[in-house]
Symmetry: C2
Subunit: 354 residues, 2 copies
C-alpha cells in the first residue's frame, strides 16, 4: 500500500483539478491511498463526484490555504500547523503518508518542508530536481532553484541525490551523471565545479557513472541521466528551456495559420501536431521533487491541469515504490565510507553550525 498526502488547495485551480486527478490515478493504481487536506466546502463537493476515490481516501479539513503569492515567511507564520500544505507535509513526518504532493507555491512548500521534515543529517541543503524531457527520454536536473550557489561538496550531494532519483524513477542501475559547465575555452569553469568533478572521479561510486562536464545543449540531448548544477544556473536553464518551447509553439501556430496551404497541411497533420504539442507542453514535464529532506515532497506545477497533477502523483508513487530514500541513504553511506575526509569536514561544519 502506498499512501500519498495531498494539499488539495494548492495550484491555480485547487480541488477542481486536484480531486479529478486523484480519481484518475486511483483507477490506474489499485494499491494507492490518499490523505487529503483542504477546506471542507471546497473539497467535499468534488470528492462526492468520485465515490471510488472517497472510499480509498481520508479527508481532513484544514482552516488555512497558503496563497500562490504568499512569501515563504508569511506562509510559515500563518500556515504552520493549520494550513492544508503544512498538514500534508506533516503526514509524511508522522508516517501516516509515504510522500506528499502539492501544487502550491514553491517557496512556501520548500520552507515548510525544511521546517517540518528537516534536511537529511548527511547533507547541508536540499535541492529541487526537475524531470527534463530529452530526445532520448528523460533526465533529472538539479538544483533548479532551491538555493543559489553551491560548493563542491554540495554539488556532490546533489549528484548523489539525483542519481538516487534516476535509479528510482528510470530503473537504471548506474545512471550517467554530468556536471553542468560552460564550454568556452578560455574560461575554465567555476572552481567548485572543477573540484566536484575531480572528487566524483576519485570516489567512483558503484551506483553512479560520472561522465564529466556537460553544456547547456547537452541537457535536451539527454547526454547524461543526471545533470548537476547549482540553483541559480539550474533555474535559469529550466525557465529558458520552457520559454523557448513556448516561443517555438507560438511560431508553429502562426506559421500553420498564415496561408491556405498551411491550413490544409495542418488539417491533415493534426494528430501529429497534437502529439507534438503534448511533448512540448511544459506543464506535462511536471513536478519538481524536493530531494535531501527526511521525506519525499513533490511540487506539481502551479498551472498543472488534471493530467499534469496526476503525473506528479505517479512520480511520487514510483519514488516510494522504488524506495528512493533508502537508496539515497545507502549511496551517502558508501560515499562517506570511501571518502572519510569529507565526512570529517562535514561533521566539523555541522558542529560549527550548532
Amino acid at each position: 500500500m502506498i499512501r500519498i498526502s495531498i494539499d488539495a488547495m494548492g495550484g491555480d485551480h485547487g480541488p477542481s483539478v486536484v480531486i479529478p486527478a486523484l480519481a484518475a490515478v486511483a483507477t490506474r493504481r489499485s494499491d494507492i491511498r490518499f490523505i487529503i487536506f483542504g477546506r471542507d466546502e471546497a473539497v467535499r463537493p468534488e470528492l462526492e463526484k468520485h465515490p471510488r476515490l472517497a472510499e480509498i481516501s481520508e479527508f481532513f479539513h484544514a482552516e488555512i490555504s497558503v496563497r500562490m503569492d504568499d512569501k515563504p515567511s508569511q506562509a510559515l507564520r500563518h500556515g504552520r500547523w493549520k494550513s492544508s500544505m503544512w498538514r500534508a507535509i506533516e503526514a509524511v513526518k508522522t508516517g501516516q503518508a509515504d510522500a506528499c504532493v502539492s501544487a502550491g507555491n514553491t517557496g512556501a512548500l520548500m520552507a515548510m518542508s525544511k521546517f517540518c521534515l528537516r534536511t537529511m543529517a548527511t547533507i547541508d541543503r536540499p535541492a529541487i530536481a526537475a524531470i527534463w524531457p530529452t530526445t532520448r527520454g528523460e533526465s533529472v536536473v538539479l538544483d533548479v532553484g532551491a538555493t543559489i550557489g553551491a560548493d563542491a561538496h554540495q554539488l556532490i550531494d546533489f549528484a548523489i541525490l539525483g542519481t538516487g532519483m534516476a535509479r528510482a524513477l528510470f530503473d537504471i542501475e548506474r545512471p550517467t551523471v554530468g556536471l553542468l559547465n560552460v564550454g568556452v575555452e578560455e574560461v575554465k569553469g567555476q572552481e567548485e565545479v572543477k573540484e566536484a568533478g575531480q572528487l566524483l572521479r576519485e570516489v567512483n561510486l558503484a551506483s553512479m557513472n560520472y561522465q564529466g562536464f556537460v553544456e547547456g545543449d547537452d541537457i535536451g540531448r539527454g547526454t547524461v541521466d543526471v545533470v548537476v548544477t547549482e540553483g541559480f544556473a539550474g533555474n535559469i536553464a529550466l525557465k529558458t528551456a520552457e520559454g523557448t518551447a513556448r516561443q517555438i509553439a507560438g511560431y508553429l501556430r502562426s506559421a500553420m495559420s498564415r496561408t491556405l496551404m498551411a491550413k490544409i497541411g495542418y488539417f491533415f497533420a493534426k494528430a501529429a501536431f497534437d502529439s507534438l504539442r503534448e511533448k512540448m507542453d511544459v506543464r506535462r514535464a511536471n513536478g519538481g521533487v524536493f530531494l535531501g529532506l527526511n521525506g519525499i515532497v513533490v511540487k506539481s506545477h502551479g498551472g498543472a491541469d488534471q493530467d499534469g497533477f496526476a503525473a506528479a502523483i505517479e512520480m511520487a508513487y514510483d519514488m516510494v515504490r522504488n524506495r528512493l530514500l533508502d537508496r539515497i541513504e545507502a549511496d551517502f553511506d558508501l560515499f562517506h565510507a570511501r571518502n572519510p575526509l569529507t565526512s570529517v569536514r562535514r561533521s566539523a561544519t555541522a558542529d560549527e553550525q550548532e
Copy 2:
C-alpha cells in the same frame, strides 16, 4: 565607406563559405569594403569566382590558420602577428578596418582581441553579447561566456554595453534592460544582481530604461531589449535554448514523417515549415559580438553557412554605421558623471592592477 576585416580561415568551412558570403553582402551594400586575410591557395580560387567582390576587397596572405580546437594560449603562442585571425583583428587596431568578423574559435578570438585591442579603459572585462530571437523580435543577451562571475559593477558595465548595442542595432532610443535572476521566492537572488539593480535604478540613465529583474522564460518572450547576466548563467541559458530548439525540431521532423496523414500535411504546409525552420535555426541567430574592447569584433557561429556568415557581417556593418563605440563611450561618461563614487572605485582598482 565601411571597411570590414575578415578572417577567411575561421569556421568549419573556411573560405568556401566565407567568400561567397562576402560576395552576397557586397551586392546589397554598395558602401562596404573588405580586407581579407587567409591562406593564398585557399582564398584566391574562391575570390576569382567573384570578380565584383575582388574589386572592392584587399587580400593578404596569412601564414597561419588558428584551428577550431586550438586552446587560446596555443593560438596566441603560434598565431600572434602571423595568423589570419590576428591580422584581421589588428586591422581594426591600426584603423585600416572599422570592424572584424571571424567564424574562428571563440576562445582564441577573444584572447587575441583582448591582447590586440585591449579592454576599454572604463571597464574591467569585455563581454560576449548574443542576439536572441524572441516572440517580439530580437534582444541582446550578455555576457554569454566571456568570463565566469561578475560583481555588481561589472554587471552595470554589461548593461551599458548591451544598451549601446541595442541602440545601434535595433534603432531604439531608450532600450529596456533587465537583470537575469531567479524567481523562486525564498531565494532572494545573488547579492551582486541585487546591488546592480539598485545602482541602475538610482543612476537612471537617459539612454537606458531599466525594468528590474527578469527570469529565464522572459528572454524568449522579449520582455526586455537587453538581458544582463554573468557569463556562466548566460552561456548555459544560450546553449540550453539552442538545445531546446534543436530538440523540438527533431520532434517535429519525426512527428511529420510518422503517418501518411502527417506526410500529406507536411506536403501542403511545406512553405510554412520552411519559414519555421529558418526561425528555429540557431545558426541564423548568428554572431556573438565582443563588447568592451577598443574595437568591434564579431564572432560568427563556427558552423554558419553562407547566410549565417553574411548575417554576422551585416551586424558588424550596422554597428559601425550606427557608431556603436561612440554611443557606448558617451553612456559610460554619463554614468560615471552621475555616479562619481564608482569612478573613484574603478580607478583605484585599476591602479592596484598595474
